[in-house]
């Protein structure tokens, strides 16, 4: 390539301007960011425990009906050590993974189909949103009859609870892909399947992620409802542990199990989806560099 003096000068000018305009990298360390997001959560947790203990101290209810944090966490520790809770978590999370996996496949397929086929959109577009508002517990009577109260009845309700949210997230994402990016993709030669693979689906991902997160919340609720309603012999799930504790009037164990349910919900939401969300936001440049 030509190397004339004025070319060299242009190179230097461009490089200098680029250096001025390029954004400075973020300086805060990972550990500090982790701590700054952790301590408010710990503080809130401590406050909740304190409030709970204060209510117990007022003797609003006898302590065998409403035990304090102490007995509840002792019961939790006992169930963890004896292996009851770990086994129950295994059973429940296996159902959650299968149900959510199915919902992911079905929801994504429906989302793409509705986005691509106008007749389908006219036919079931609003139905998907409608299904999302339907409390999933209302599906159980039908599901129990359809599947004789077996494992499949629970899965059915988990899928039908989560899939509409996932489909809707993907559909919204596809609808909101900036036309500029679609055009740029066509100019680059991405058409048909390639347009979906390389442009439309990646561009729809942030909204899809919102749908996945919401889908998880629905799946988790449906699963807990299902495990309380559909008791399957030999399958000692979290729901079964909770139900048995109720039958024995063991308030401490009920609360201990509820803590486990809450904890799993939070962990999946903040660890799995939180990490994905942060990664997308920083890749796309959606975070304010000063705030993160």
């Amino acid at each position: 390539m030509a190397l004339r003096p004025e070319d060299q000068e242009l190179d230097e000018e461009l490089a200098a301007l680029d250096a001025l305009e390029a954004k400075a990298p973020r300086a805060r360390s990972r550990a500090r960011r982790f701590w700054s997001s952790l301590w408010p959560k710990l503080a809130a947790f401590a406050l909740v425990l304190l409030g709970w203990q204060v209510v117990v101290w007022t003797h609003w209810k006898p302590s065998y009906v409403l035990p304090g944090p102490g007995p509840a966490f002792r019961s939790l520790g006992h169930d963890l050590a004896s292996g009851v809770i770990p086994r129950a978590i295994g059973v429940t999370m296996e159902r959650a993974a299968i149900g959510y996996g199915l919902a992911l496949l079905i929801g994504s397929a429906i989302g793409v189909a509705v986005a691509r086929i106008p007749v389908l959109r006219a036919a079931i577009g609003s139905l998907i949103t409608g299904l999302q508002t339907m409390p999933s517990i209302a599906w159980f009577p039908l599901a129990i009859i359809l599947f004789q109260g077996g494992e499949k009845a629970i899965l059915f309700v988990v899928v039908i609870g989560a899939a509409p949210a996932i489909a809707n997230g993907l559909l919204t994402g596809i609808d909101q892909v900036p036309p500029l990016l679609t055009r740029a993709g066509r100019v680059l030669g991405a058409r048909g399947f390639n347009a979906y693979r390389y442009v439309i689906l990646p561009a729809a991902f942030p909204s899809f992620l919102g749908g996945l997160k919401q889908g998880w919340a629905f799946a988790w609720r449906s699963l807990m409802a299902g495990e309380l309603l559909v008791i399957i012999a030999g399958r000692q799930s979290i729901g079964v542990v909770l139900d048995q504790a109720r039958q024995f009037n063991d308030s401490a164990e009920i609360i201990a199990t509820m803590i486990v349910i809450l904890f799993i919900g939070i962990v999946v939401d903040s660890v799995v989806f939180g990490v994905l969300e942060r990664r997308v936001r920083s890749r796309w440049g959606l975070v304010d560099a000063a705030a993160s």
């Binding site: 242009l10 301007l17 740029a184 030669g189 990646p202």
Partner: protein, 268 residues
């Protein structure tokens, strides 16, 4: 080598108009919508773009310039008339850089190669040489949002070159940039054009920019878009946007443009 250097490319302004047409628009009209609400974007437009010519299209809003670029790029079909593209593959560069935000700079360029079915092993050297061409070596791992507007446009240009396009259609590519950056990018585009011998159709609102860059400036009317006048630019390169010769011709074209806009305003 993907970017084959053309044997006939010299350091002087490459191929001159008259050496044949890379793009021909013959009596092209484009109407959007149906009879009642029809919008005539283009009416009876005939334009020839020579091989290696740098052509600028200037016009007020509604002159159908984006429509014209879409037609040449093959993203749209004319209502009547014909569009012929002979001088290689056309590609569009948009006003805002249309880089994919989920990909790094390198990956954006790589996608163009991937879609041309270039093997994985062959991509890397091409990406490197393209980044070098637009003076962005070392920025390959950055994400688009980490770059300035001018840098993003240069990545867009690199990505367009990765398509092995030989006709660059540029839709107000520097409209959103500050004057300093724009000035440098004028130099850069001119150098790229000189070194590659591409044909360029460059749309702009900025008459001075057009005179600074073009071999020929075509003035378009608005609603419908028609060719009003043609101005060959016989000013020696390299040019400066602030030079008196550029100023004189720009003043002449601007006067004609204002006349056109006024005329449009007075007609019903």
């Amino acid at each position: 080598m993907i970017l084959k250097p053309r044997p006939d490319v010299s350091l002087e302004p490459a191929l001159h108009p008259g050496a044949g047409s890379a793009v021909s628009l013959s009596s092209v009209s484009k109407v959007y919508g149906t009879e009642s609400g029809a919008v005539h974007a283009l009416e009876d437009v005939s334009i020839e773009v020579g091989y290696g010519e740098f052509l600028c299209l200037v016009g007020a809003s509604g002159c159908g310039k984006s429509t014209m670029l879409n037609l040449i790029a093959g993203l749209d079909k004319p209502s009547t008339g014909s569009v012929e593209v002979r001088g290689g593959r056309p590609t569009l560069i948009f006003q805002e850089s249309a880089l994919f935000p989920w990909l790094t700079v390198e990956q954006n360029i790589e996608l163009a190669l991937k879609l041309r079915k270039i093997g994985r092993a062959d991509r890397e050297p091409v990406i490197e040489s393209l980044l070098k061409m637009v003076n962005l070596s070392g920025f390959g791992k950055k994400r688009p949002h980490e770059l300035s507007g001018g840098m993003r446009q240069r990545v867009s240009i690199a990505r367009a070159l990765a398509q092995q396009a030989e006709i660059l259609l540029m839709d107000e590519p520097f409209g959103a940039l500050d004057a300093m950056t724009r000035d440098l990018l004028h130099d850069e585009v001119e150098r790229l054009w000189r070194d590659t011998g591409f044909s360029i159709v460059f749309v702009t609102h900025n008459v001075r920019e057009a005179v600074r860059l073009a071999d020929r400036v075509i003035l378009l009317s608005s609603r419908p878009g028609r060719v009003v006048a043609e101005f060959p630019v016989d000013i020696k390169r390299p040019r400066r946007v602030e030079s008196p010769e550029v100023g004189t011709l720009a003043t002449e074209i601007t006067a004609r443009l204002r006349e056109e806009v006024k005329h449009h305003g007075s007609s019903p």
